[in-house]
Amino acid sequence: MEDVIFFAIFMALFAAMFTFLGYLGYKKTKTAEDYFVAGRKMGAVVIAFSYGATFISAVALIGFSGIASIFGHSILWLAFLNIFVGILIAFIFYGFRTRKMGLSLNALTLPELLGNRFNSTKLQSVSGLIIAIFMVAYISAVFLAIGSLFQVTFGISYELCVIVFTVVVGIYLIVGGLYAVMWTHAVQGVLMLAGMIILTVGMYAMLGGIGPAHEAAASLTPEILQSIGSPAATQAPGGLTSMPPLFSQPFMMILTLIFGVGIGVLAQPQLITRYLTAKNEKALRMAIPYGGIFILLMTFTAFSIGPLCDVLMVNNGIMYPGTPDKVVPLVVSELFPQWFVFFFLFAVLAAAMSTASALFHTAGASIGRDVFEKGIMKGISHEKSIKITRIATIVIIAATLVITLNPLDVVAFMCAFFFGLMACTFLAPYTLMLYWKKTSKAGAWAGMLGGFMFTMFWYVLIYFKTAPQIIGSSMIDNYMVNMLDPIFIGLPLSFVLTYVFSILIKQDKDEQKIMKKSFENI
């Protein structure tokens, strides 16, 4: 009963604070530019926190920590890529050019950037549709995980948790647009940071420091791990602090996780939007150090503590909870004081809400602006544009709620392949658009559709996690093939298609004019 009261109070505080920020955002939102890209007025810290909070969801904090508890510290390679690729390469090689090109072409979303660059509203609409459909499933999976976690911890019904979280996010997003989303991200980011820092310091302190903690993890033999029922007994054959043998199944699992997310980050529409919100180039540059430290304190800590959870479970006689995403919550609830259990759960909720709000905003913009305004109802006023996007966002939120309350297996695998799908569909045309002046509309279509269709083919027929659920089994038995993320083949294929078709079907005069305009600031 006390837990429920605590949940209600904290949730009310959350809702009040975010609704207030939503109201402030509402007062500031006058134009389409305000709603979609926060007026292009954001500073470095807000951009960095928003980018980080959008990127790091509950899936990263507890899902990947749980995976680290099974596969060991080798998952730290993903933390490295999250910073090196996700911040440095993303901002330096994509962020500045995206912002400049976005200004030249007056683009407010990634599909609009593609559509305006290649003079094709159809390209914009189709991109928007792909993004919206798959984002709904991704958001569902995020809320499914957090709803289950709160149900287990507070004993409140899963349905009530999901409805409350969705409504709270929906209110401040629809009312306040991206201003509200990014300001709430700054608050949620602080909560997430505090939660992860306290958790990590606490765990290392319990185990006597960094060296002793890692040595304790390294000393866990398969027999000891077996005694607590941990899959790490078989999945970490080289030990929890070593890489698995080259090209073994655990190695392929790590490879697919690392590259799917580590490279896929470059083409995530909800992250690309953040580049467009910068008030000037300096704001984007200065977001790099803040973003780098934020991601370090999120993923480095989350992936480091995974194997330490195994040590703590062994030391305290706690059995493995059955699924990896329950490992960290279990250890926290058993070994940390009650106040921190609640604080950590709300930090994880902040991570889920921050990602969900960014995804809802992007998905709503994809339908409202990219499909309806630019595709179907061309030439409407900008006031109507915001109205239509708000309506579209409500529809997206409602659809997400329906799916989350009636979860299908398909939701879980659509979340698993969201990053890879976005990368294979958009990264090639997006990259070449920014750097190669000869990229043509035909090339963009070919790269986008080729990457998308290949990825769907791979997930339906080949990929070890999804093909068995859809067609009964993978068409390829060899684990070295069926465990590969489609990004390994789909991304190069998409680049080749974009290049070849750009050479075969060159830009027309209108495209050339637009191309010159796109590069005038670059």
């Binding site: 006058k30 134009t31 389409a32 530019e33 305000d34 292009r40 060991g72 510290h73 080798s74 730290l76 390679w77 933390a79 490295f80 910073i83 090196f84 911040i87 440095l88 400049k100 200004l103 030249s104 007056n106 960094i210 060296g211 002793p212 903690a213 890692h214 040595e215 304790a216 993890a217 390294a218 080289g238 030990g239 602090t241 070593s242 890489m243 000037n280 180039e281 300096k282 540059r285 200065m286 790099i288 150090p289 803040y290 973003g291 780098g292 430290i293 991601i295 370090l296 480095f300 900008h382 005038e520 600031n521």
Partner: protein, 76 residues
């Protein structure tokens, strides 16, 4: 014989180093590289920020400002 001896010595040195790193920090060499690489990547981000903080502030080209303003006029 000398080549084989040298090769074996090199392997012994690598194994010794790996063992030493493994003992000191509790991690295998490739995990240690990931661990230190992550920290270095974050430091690189910090250095990038410090470097640009002390540079002359970037002045946006007039055409950029004009496009931004014209974008806003269009929206209203």
């Amino acid at each position: 014989m000398l080549v084989v001896f040298q090769h074996n010595v090199e392997i012994d040195i690598l194994n010794y180093l790996e063992e030493k790193i493994y003992m000191i920090l509790g991690m295998g060499i490739w995990v240690f590289i990931a661990w230190i690489g992550t920290i270095l990547a974050a430091i690189l981000c910090l250095l990038y920020g410090v470097y640009h903080w002390f540079m002359k502030s970037d002045e946006e080209k007039p055409s950029e400002v004009k496009n931004k303003k014209s974008g806003k006029r269009e929206a209203k």
